[in-house]
Symmetry: C2
Subunit: 421 residues, 2 copies
C-alpha cells in the first residue's frame, strides 16, 4: 500500500482519485451489440451468444426441472447457508415496506401517494469462475418481497449446480444468456426474452457499459457500477489482523478494487501493513490481491474527524468503522453505501448474511445513489381528488398561476367547472 502520513487535502484527493473508465472500443462494441439485439431479436441474440459465449444450445430458457435437478448435487451445508442468508435478507427487506401516504391538503382536496411494486424486473447474475449465489439472493429476495409479478433472470451459459439450485428457489424465468446482449434483450424484449421495467445486477465491463448506454435511452437500472471498494477507518483499539483481513477481502475481488485505510494511530498503521504482508501470501488469489494493494492507499490522519471528512468526500461503497466507539461516528456518515460498525463486523457479513443488501453504489456514486433496497423494486403513483368545495378553494390560485405561465387552457379547465356550480 502507498502510505501517506498527515497529507494535505490536495494530496489526499489526488491519492484517492478513482481511475477514469473510458474505453471507446468497448463503447462502440456495446453500442453495436445493443443495436443488433434491438433490431435483430432472437436470431441476433443466438448469433451473438454463440460467438461471444460459445453457447451451443438452441434454447435460452432453463426449465424449472433442470434447475431442481441441481439440488442433488449441492451439499446440505451450502443449502443451509443459503437458507440462513435468505431469511435475514428477507426479514431486513420486509421491514422496509413503505406506508402509503394520504393527506387532505385543503378542505375538499384529497392527495395520496401509493407505493406499487414494479411489474417485471430483470436480474443479471454474472458467470465466470465464481458463481455469485449471493447476488441471486440480494436481488431476487427483495423483488419477491416487493411483490413484483415477473422475475426474469439472465446468467451466462453454463451455470453450475450451486447457481442452478439457488435460482430454483425463486419463481423466476431463467435464461442462459450473458453479457451486453442479455442486458439489451431484457431492455427491449425479444420473442423469447421478456422486456422488463428495470434492470438490476453487476457484471463485467460489457454488462456495465450496456446498462449505462441503455440508461441514456431511458431504461431504468439499479445504479451505475464500477469496481468494488472498501474504506476502513481504524483507531488505536483496532486489531491489525482483523483490519488486514478486511482489506484483503476487498483486494481479492480484482486488481482494480479500491482499498483505503485511514487511521489516527501510526502504530496501528504499521502493524496492519505487516499483517497484510503475512496474510496475503497464503491467499489462493494472492496475485490479484497483491496487484490491488499496490494501487491502494493508507493514510495517517491527525484525528477521527479528519478521517470521516475524507471518507464523506470519497463516498465509499463499503465503510468499516473499526473503532472503539463506532456509534459516536455513525451520525457523521454522510456518503457511503453500507457501513460496518465495530471490531466484530467484517464486510463479509454484509456481503452474504447480515440481511443488508450488498448491491451498493461505487465510484463516489454514494453521494447521489442509494444501495438496492425494497424501494428499488417499487415505484410511487400520486392521486388527487377534489370535491367542488376543494376545487373552489384552489380555483383562484390555480388560474392566476396558469395565466402567469401563459397557459390559458389550464385556467379554463378550472373555470369551465366553476361555471357549473
Amino acid at each position: 500500500m502507498k502510505t501517506l502520513k498527515y497529507p494535505t487535502k490536495e494530496q489526499t484527493a489526488k491519492a484517492l482519485e478513482r481511475p477514469m473508465q473510458d474505453n471507446e472500443v468497448l463503447r462502440n462494441r456495446v453500442k453495436e451489440i445493443i443495436s443488433q439485439v434491438r433490431t435483430g431479436g432472437d436470431p441476433s441474440l443466438l448469433k451473438l451468444s454463440r460467438e461471444l459465449d460459445g453457447f451451443s444450445g438452441e434454447r435460452f430458457e432453463i426449465s424449472p426441472s433442470e434447475m431442481k435437478a441441481a439440488a442433488g448435487l449441492v451439499s446440505q451445508d451450502l443449502k443451509d447457508a443459503i437458507d440462513l442468508a435468505r431469511q435475514n435478507i428477507e426479514r431486513f427487506h420486509a421491514v422496509q415496506r413503505p406506508e402509503d401516504i394520504s393527506l387532505v391538503t385543503q378542505p375538499g382536496v384529497y392527495c395520496s401517494m401509493q407505493f406499487k411494486p414494479l411489474q417485471k424486473v430483470g436480474l443479471y447474475i454474472p458467470g465466470g469462475t465464481a458463481p455469485l449465489l449471493s447476488t441471486v439472493l440480494m436481488l431476487a429476495v427483495p423483488a419477491l418481497v416487493a411483490g413484483c409479478s415477473e422475475l426474469v433472470i439472465c446468467t451466462p451459459p453454463e451455470p453450475g449446480p450451486e447457481l442452478l439450485y439457488t435460482l430454483s428457489l425463486f419463481n423466476a424465468r431463467v435464461f442462459r444468456l450473458g453479457g451486453a446482449q442479455a442486458i439489451a434483450a431484457m431492455a427491449f424484449g425479444t420473442d423469447t426474452i421478456p422486456r422488463v421495467d428495470k434492470i438490476f445486477g453487476p457484471g463485467n465491463r460489457y454488462v456495465t457499459e450496456a446498462k449505462m448506454q441503455l440508461s441514456a435511452m431511458g431504461i431504468a437500472i439499479d445504479m451505475p457500477a464500477g469496481p468494488s471498494e472498501v474504506l476502513v477507518i481504524a483507531d488505536a483499539t483496532a486489531n491489525p489482523a482483523f483490519v488486514a483481513a478486511d482489506l484483503l477481502s476487498q483486494a481479492e475481488h480484482g486488481a482494480d478494487s479500491q482499498v483505503v485505510l485511514i487511521t489516527d494511530s501510526e502504530k496501528m498503521l504499521e502493524a496492519t501493513l505487516k499483517e497484510l504482508e503475512e496474510q496475503v501470501s497464503t491467499l489462493p488469489r494472492h496475485d490479484i490481491a497483491l496487484q490491488c494493494l499496490e494501487n491502494s492507499t493508507a493514510i495517517l490522519v491527525k484525528d477521527l474527524s479528519e478521517a470521516m471528512e475524507i471518507s464523506n468526500d470519497y463516498a465509499p461503497e463499503h465503510l468499516i468503522l473499526a473503532l472503539e466507539n463506532p456509534a459516536a461516528t455513525k451520525a457523521k456518515v454522510e456518503n457511503a453505501g453500507s457501513v460496518f460498525m465495530g471490531h466484530y463486523t467484517p464486510e463479509s457479513l454484509g456481503d452474504y448474511s447480515s440481511g443488508t443488501n450488498h448491491t451498493l453504489p461505487t465510484a463516489g456514486a454514494a453521494r447521489s445513489w442509494s444501495g438496492v433496497s425494497l424501494l428499488s423494486f417499487m415505484k410511487t403513483i400520486t392521486f388527487q381528488e377534489a370535491t367542488p368545495e376543494g376545487l373552489d378553494r384552489l380555483a383562484n390560485a390555480t388560474t392566476i398561476l396558469a395565466r402567469a405561465e401563459g397557459l390559458e387552457a389550464h385556467a379554463r379547465a378550472i373555470e369551465v367547472r366553476k361555471s357549473q356550480f
Copy 2:
C-alpha cells in the same frame, strides 16, 4: 382527433405508439457542449452562453438583492397564489418523510437503514416565453423539506420579475445559465458553478439530451423526460365540456404533447369532439393545440376494464378518471405518474396547487420510474453491527457461502475474528 371505435389490441397499440426521438445532430452537438464545459470550465461556459443564449453579462450568479428587488414588480394576487401552492406542496411532501428502519436480524446482529438528504442538488428551470414558476415550487420545496444543504438553480438569461420573485423565496444560489451547458456545469462543476449530486428539472431537447448523456456517465438525474401527456378515461357521466377542457390544457403545451381519450360511451365521445372544436378556437395557443389534436387519439372501448388495461399498457404521465365512481377504478391503476379522480379534479390542480408533484415520468417511463417526491431528494445508507455472539451465529453460513463463491479472504475475515474469541 383520430377516432378508433372498438379497435383490436394491435390497432390500439399502433395508434398509441409514441414518436421515436432520435436525432444524431442533436446528440453530437450536446456531446460537444458537455465536453467543452467539462474540460474548459468557466471560459467555455461563458463562450457557449454568449453564442447560444445571447448572454451579454460577465457574471452568471444572480444576487439575492437582485431577486428581492423583483418583489415590487409582482402583483399581490400572484404572490398569494404562489404562497397557497407552496403551502400545499410543502404539506404533501412533508408527510412523505420516510422513517429509518432498524431490525435485529439475528441475536447480536443489528441492521439499520437511514434516510439522508442529498447534500447538493441542481435544479433546472427552463426559460422561454412562459416562466415556469410552478417548476421552481415543485423542485425547491421538496429539496428544502428533505433537508438538502445546498440548492443550485440554473435558468436561462434573462428571467422576468415573476420568476426572480419565486426564486427569491428559497435560500438557493441562482445562475443565469441555460441549455445543455447549464446541465453539464452542474454535473461537473466549474469555478463558479458548484458540482451537484443530482440534477432535476425539465427543459428543451438540448437539456433533456444532456441529462440523458450525463446519466450514461453515472450522473444522477430525476428521470428521463419527454413531451407531456394526458390520458382521460371518461364514462357516460363525464361532462364533455370538462373533458374537452382537460384535453386542451394538455394540447396547449406543444404540438408533440400526447393526448388520449378513452371512453365506453359513444355519445360522450361525439359530444367531446364537438366541444373540443368549439373550445379550441378561442384559445390564445390554438395553433399549437390544433396541431397536437391532429396527432391525438380517441378510443371507444366496450367497458372500463378494457380502458384501464390500455392505460396501464400506455403508462401515461397524467391519468384523469372522469368517472362516476373513480374509487372503484383506483386500485386497478398499475402504471401512471399522477392520477386525477372524478369530475372536479382537472389536471391543472396537480400542475399547480393540490400539493402533489408535477414532475412526472413520460413516454411510458411510469412503468419503471416514480414522479418526483421527497424520496427523490434523499438517499439511504445501511448500517450493521455484530456483537461477538452475532458474528458467531453468522460465521458458518458466511464462510460456506464465501468459499462457494471462491472468495477465500472473505471467509478468513470471519475466521480471524473467531480465532480470538
